[in-house]
């Protein structure tokens, strides 16, 4: 029953949704709570097929509000629990994710972005950035990985569980409909073979012993009576979050050392940006690319350093400036000129970035 889902390492060719299900299995996730929505459905479908073979569980809830809260509940009972959603489902999960922020519940949520606003398309977008990073009534005390490939979907789904349980903030893997539905190759592996040890889970409720006698009572709160008390609690939460930031923040740069033009893009758009850098460099144009992997928290200091020497930044995203707002906040006060290339809800190719950059020379 409990043999390892993946022994050693193997090359596979599959959809991103299938990758997420395998990664959660490899990460020793105990249970998925979920409600179907395109383009995320197959995470659930594959999980429900695979989970029983490895002694794991699944609960389909009546909607995403419930899926989010049952995930919180599963975690409180000490289970490595996760859920996955997209678009309107992501909206409904925000309430439970803010509870996770307030009560330090290490949930994992995989988001496969679709077009918006409203029902829009089931295909693709990068329009769930603001919601995934800052959704809910709170301060955005969460960690969001923006992946660009099936390899990263695998790597960061595993990592999400460990970062969540280590730091006790909700962690999000921000994919998109392209990553969900496309097929490409990747290497799946048993985390142990890479020296990755899964962080041990613990229950927060139902502990042995008499509270106050044998152990400290577990006092989980998301309700406060006074302004002063809440302000103190949130200030402390923010402080603890800020302490975690330097340990979790991740980014990548491509030929930025001498770049005059720096392309900024995250998620799957980085692939187009990397291709554009390659083509433009071959033509002798000094272009580089900066890509946050944690889109929240954001590698602000590293981008600031790049701003000092660049002559122009171009923000590229499949949304109308949601990523750009994060960038602007991160580099507030820098004087480097900034342009934008926005295609809300539409994919971006390397060729069109090349064209755009050359037009502006």
């Amino acid at each position: 029953m409990s043999e390892k889902p993946i022994e050693g390492e193997k090359r596979v060719f599959m959809t991103g949704n299938e990758v997420v299900a395998w990664a959660a299995l490899a990460a020793e996730a105990d249970i998925m709570y979920g409600y179907p929505i395109t383009p995320q459905n197959e995470v659930m479908h594959y999980w429900t097929r695979l989970a029983p073979k490895y002694g794991r569980s699944f609960l389909q809830t009546e909607d995403e509000i419930s899926a989010g809260f049952t995930t919180c509940g599963g975690v409180l009972s000490g289970k490595r629990a996760f859920t996955a959603t997209a678009g309107p489902g992501n909206i409904l999960m925000q309430e439970s994710m803010t509870m996770a922020e307030m009560m330090r519940i290490p949930t994992v949520l995989v988001v496969q972005q679709r077009g918006g606003p409203s029902t829009a398309t089931v295909i693709y977008s990068q329009q769930e950035v603001t919601m995934t990073c800052f959704g809910g009534n709170g301060e955005g005390l969460r960690i969001v990985y923006s992946t660009c490939s099936h390899q990263e979907l695998y790597d960061y789904t595993i990592k999400a569980f460990n970062v969540a349980w280590k730091y006790r903030f909700p962690v999000f893997v921000l994919g998109d409909g392209y990553q969900a539905k496309m097929r490409e190759s990747l290497k799946m592996y048993d985390p142990a073979t890479k020296g990755i040890k899964m962080v041990e889970t613990q229950p927060s409720l139902g502990l042995a012993g008499v509270p106050g006698v044998d152990r400290e009572p577990s006092h989980l709160r998301n309700t406060y009576n006074t302004e002063e008390e809440l302000c103190e609690v949130v200030t402390n939460l923010v402080e603890e979050y800020n302490k975690v930031v330097p340990e979790v923040v991740e980014y990548e740069t491509f030929e930025t050392e001498d770049a005059e033009i720096v392309l900024l893009g995250h998620g799957i758009v980085t692939r187009a940006a990397q291709a554009a850098v390659k083509t433009l460099r071959e033509q002798g144009i000094k272009v580089g690319h900066f890509r946050p992997i944690t889109i929240h928290p954001f590698a602000a200091d590293e981008l600031r350093a790049i701003c000092k020497q660049a002559k122009k930044l171009i923000v590229i995203e499949s949304a109308q400036g949601q990523f750009e707002r994060i960038v602007k906040e991160a580099i507030y006060g820098e004087s480097v000129p900034m342009e934008s290339y926005f295609k809300p809800g539409q994919g971006i190719t390397g060729e069109e970035i090349v064209e755009y950059v050359k037009k502006g020379l």
């Binding site: 496309m182 291709a275 083509t279 390397g350």
Partner: protein, 188 residues
Amino acid sequence: MSNTVKVALAGEGGQGVQSVAGILVEAANDEGREALYIPNFGVEQRGGVSVAFCQISDERIGSPKFKFADLVIALSDRAVRRTKQYVDENTVFIYDSSVEGVEDDMPQKVKKILAIPALDIAKKELHPRVFNVIVMGAAIAVTKIVDIKQAKSALEKKLGYKFKQDPKLRELNFKALEKGVELVEGKV
């Protein structure tokens, strides 16, 4: 981006373009090459134009969709109209010769336009069900993304369980594949 072969296959829902696209990239992956395939998908359950975007390369592939393809195959009038946007002077554009009323919809800037009687041959010489496999043969002959042997073993992998029940199906599919190659060989 240079050595990546880009193919867009388009037809009516049910014509089987997604199935052959899946088999094609599977074959390339089995050869150890990099392959990326993404179906377009809308909210409809069935009907509508179905497009499969495939890329095959020796290195890691960039964005999943592309501006212009090396090969576009369109199998219905609506598919012709939908996919001509992916055609430029380096694109081979193939459509089925049974498609009518598209004379004014042909791409203007194009490397080569070719009409092939895949549907007709499938109906008269083989079986309507292997129409898409003829198309797959044509795609392989134009792009050389995989060799025929590899394509046959990918078909075997995908349909082997059906071939076991009825070995004639194997022969039929392989014939269809070869027919597709014949239809375009020497013409592009």
